[in-house]
């Protein structure tokens, strides 16, 4: 337990992660963000916690095991998140001071076109009309940025951008049409080749093929296949999807699987 405490203390010494146990009552301001402190301290903490859990299955021990750790947690400020200081009253005073001095280390998403929580469409205009492609690109970039650097939500600064203001034809032109071209091309090639093959094998011409039920089924299968299987991975994905869809149901039905009535009571 004490070892995990030692290792759990914060890596606020930038050069090395030497463990130190002294509770830090004032927080050093870190100029750069470290979103991923080393995982080992957490791993150790979780193993000690889980071993407590495996004891007589009591959550009481788990909760109490966490309480002393919460006290120690105060000492760990990987980011200057001030409100963590709980137990030490003295910390609150200095924490308050530290907060006032705190430099905004979380870099917010900034863009001249991003105004008050939404994209200012006037800045996207090209030939007098908004350039929807640019809006889509800008929003994609913003979301990608946020994925790496999540921001705090704030009531003064709400996000109100709604993707549905982008008209449907902008989406279609940009994303649907190129892929549609690809798929249609594939379907056409497969169709031509299969029609030729069937004709050479059976002598039935194209028009007569369309009248035949079996050929119509083949055509349907070919179209569905082209639509659904677009990349090599799709076959695996579809199989996994099918399995996933029924997995939860299987878990529910598990209790109804027949067991031998004699053996069940004697286990």
């Amino acid at each position: 337990m004490s070892i995990s405490m030692a290792l759990f203390s914060p890596p606020t010494h930038p050069p090395s992660l030497s463990p130190s146990i002294s509770p830090k009552t004032h927080l050093t301001v870190k100029p750069h963000l470290s979103l991923r402190p080393p995982k080992t301290p957490f791993f150790l903490l979780s193993t000690t916690r889980s071993s407590a859990d495996n004891g007589a299955g009591t959550s009481a021990s788990a909760a109490t095991a966490l309480e002393p750790e919460a006290g120690q947690k105060v000492a760990e400020p990987p980011q200057p998140v001030v409100e963590k200081d709980a137990s030490s009253a003295g910390a609150n005073g200095s924490a308050g001071a530290a907060e006032a001095v705190e430099v905004k280390v979380v870099s917010k998403f900034e863009d001249p076109r991003w105004v008050e929580g939404t994209w200012d469409l006037k800045q996207f205009e090209k030939d007098g009309k908004p350039d929807w492609d640019a809006v889509i690109d800008a929003e994609a970039k913003r979301r990608k940025w946020l994925e790496g650097k999540p921001e705090s939500s704030s009531n003064d600064d709400p996000i109100v951008f709604d993707t549905s203001i982008i008209p449907w034809w902008a989406w279609t032109k940009r994303f649907h049409l190129p892929e549609a071209e690809l798929l249609n091309g594939r379907a056409a090639m497969i169709g031509f080749f299969m029609a030729y093959l069937v004709d050479s094998l059976t002598g039935v011409g194209l028009v007569d093929q369309m009248g035949n039920f079996f050929c119509k089924t083949l055509l349907f299968v070919a179209v569905v296949g082209v639509l659904v299987i677009r990349k090599n991975e799709d076959i695996e994905n579809l199989k996994k999807l099918l399995e996933e869809t029924t997995f939860y149901d299987k878990q529910w039905q598990a209790t109804w699987q027949d067991e031998t009535p004699g053996g069940s009571k004697n286990q």
Binding site: K39, F42, S46, D53, A56, G57, S59, A60, A62, A63, L66, E67, E69, A70, K73, P78, Q79, V81, V82, E83, K84, D85, A86, E99, I136, E139, A140, R142, R143, L146, E147, P150, E151, S152, S153, S154, N155, D156, P158, I159, F161, D162, T163, S164, I166, W171, E244, Y248, D249, Q251, W252, A254, T255, W256, E259, P261, S264, K265, N266, Q267
Partner: protein, 446 residues
């Protein structure tokens, strides 16, 4: 005389020597049941039942059993297990079905906000009527109320830690519950056992019910300064994003005089502290200056156990795994399953007069429960798979939640646990919008 087997009707037992087979047609689809019970009547005593675990599930089961005439023993640790760090939100139907008195409710939440990964925020709750709300309670208050009510209905409350459940080797022998009370080891022989002892159920282990995957819910209780607490007066918040949870959501729920900030995950349990820090970051301006007063964690089952009834042992509540996906709601289902199981035993044993067997439990409890709720659980599983997979789908979820029809349907099904009467046209529009949102957000997210 027919003994109605529908769980909502209390069973009427008439001690007539002749029992005839009758068919009942009524508004509810009742199965044709031969009322001639083949179970042997108990010699001069009532059926003995042990309910292990005194949370909502156990207390409801004990109440139903005791009210039905079965000799019931409700086992709960002493002191009672630490309050489960759960959201503490219960739907309206639970208040009415279980007669929860209003003084127990800490807060009436009438507004909910959902935040997407890009902090797009949607206000849920525009469609709530003035008398509709989500009740927030402290688990310790609710649990002790339900327990004492079970006791007043006739259940024998045993403050003890159950250490083992001995499964009998012959069909007629009783189950023996070994427990520790006042530092002495004791044992009690019973005929039926209901396991309501939560995610780490000992009863489930004793009957080899199999295990299930669990999510871990981690929560910090934070006392906020008054002006910040005002913001959360009747508002709960939900945050989705891969920074706060890869497969669940993070929350800020108001409690009596503090807020609970927490998150959960199934697949990345070792990173739970990272996720907790991330949610603190996301909420930072609103909880600045708050003090952490408690830190707690608990496993939440993700799906039902492989075996929920074996022999004359039935599992209910968390022990059985009755927690919905997507929302992680479990209190109502725990209490309801406890009550249904208790009523099933009372029905099958005809008021505690007859012995019961595994078939009775499966037919009266499991089958009825599955028939009633499996579609709810399946739907929540579908929602989780569709919307919690990636940041793009989470954005789509939040976008969709802005729609009033979606909000109304969601609250109807949550508050009253019934499939709301939807308008077909609106349903179609909702599906269309879902597909559209998902496609748009996936495109942007690429």
């Amino acid at each position: 005389m027919a003994s109605l087997t529908h769980p909502f009707h209390t069973s009427t037992t008439f001690n007539l020597p002749l029992r005839t087979k009758t068919r009942t047609h009524s508004r509810f689809l009742i199965a044709i049941k031969a009322s001639k019970s083949t179970n042997p009547p108990l010699p001069g005593r009532k059926l003995r039942a042990a309910v292990i675990g005194g949370g909502p599930a156990g207390s409801s089961a004990a109440e139903a059993l005791a009210a039905g005439g079965v000799e019931t023993f409700l086992f709960e640790r002493s002191p009672p297990s630490t309050a489960k760090p759960c959201g503490g939100a219960i739907p309206l139907c639970m208040l009415s079905e279980f007669d929860i008195p209003s003084p127990l409710i800490d807060r009436h939440v009438t507004r909910m906000r959902i935040f997407s990964p890009s902090n797009l925020c949607v206000d849920f709750g525009k469609t709530l009527r003035p008398d509709e709300f989500i009740a927030m309670l402290r688990r310790e208050v609710l649990d002790s109320f339900l327990r004492s009510r079970a006791e007043s209905r006739g259940a024998n409350l045993v403050s003890a830690l159950v250490t083992d459940l001995e499964v009998p080797t012959t069909p007629a022998a009783p189950y023996v519950v070994h427990y520790t009370a006042n530092n002495s080891r004791r044992s009690l022989a019973v005929d039926v056992v209901i396991g309501a002892d939560g995610a780490n159920s000992r009863v489930a282990k004793s009957i080899h019910a199999g295990s299930y995957s669990c999510a871990i819910a981690f929560q910090e209780r934070i006392k906020l300064p008054d002006e910040k607490m005002e913001y959360y007066e009747n508002l709960a918040e939900m945050y989705v994003g891969s920074d706060v949870s890869p497969d669940f959501y993070a929350w800020v729920f108001p409690k009596c005089d503090h807020v609970a900030v927490g998150t959960g995950t199934v697949c990345a349990k070792q990173d739970i502290k990272l996720f907790q820090r991330a949610i603190r970051e996301r909420v930072k301006p609103k909880i600045n200056g708050g003090k952490v007063i408690k830190v707690e964690a608990h496993p939440i089952p993700e799906h039902p156990r492989p075996i929920r009834v074996r022999g004359r042992v039935a599992l209910v509540g968390d022990a059985a795994g009755y927690v919905t996906k997507c929302a992680g709601e479990g209190i109502y289902f725990a209490a309801k399953s406890g009550r249904m199981c208790g009523e099933a035993i009372v029905n099958a044993s005809e008021g505690g007069e007859r012995m019961i067997n595994e078939g009775d439990l499966k037919r009266e409890y499991l089958r009825v429960w599955d028939a009633k709720y499996i579609s709810t659980f399946r739907f929540m599983d579908l929602l989780q798979r569709v919307f919690y997979g990636s940041n793009a789908s989470r954005e789509a979820l939040v976008e969709l939640c802005g729609d009033e029809y979606v909000q109304r349907m969601t609250f109807e099904s949550y508050l009253y646990k019934r499939l709301a009467d939807g308008d077909r046209w609106q349903d179609a529009k909702m599906v269309w919008n879902t597909v559209g949102s998902l496609m748009r957000c996936n495109i942007i997210g690429r």
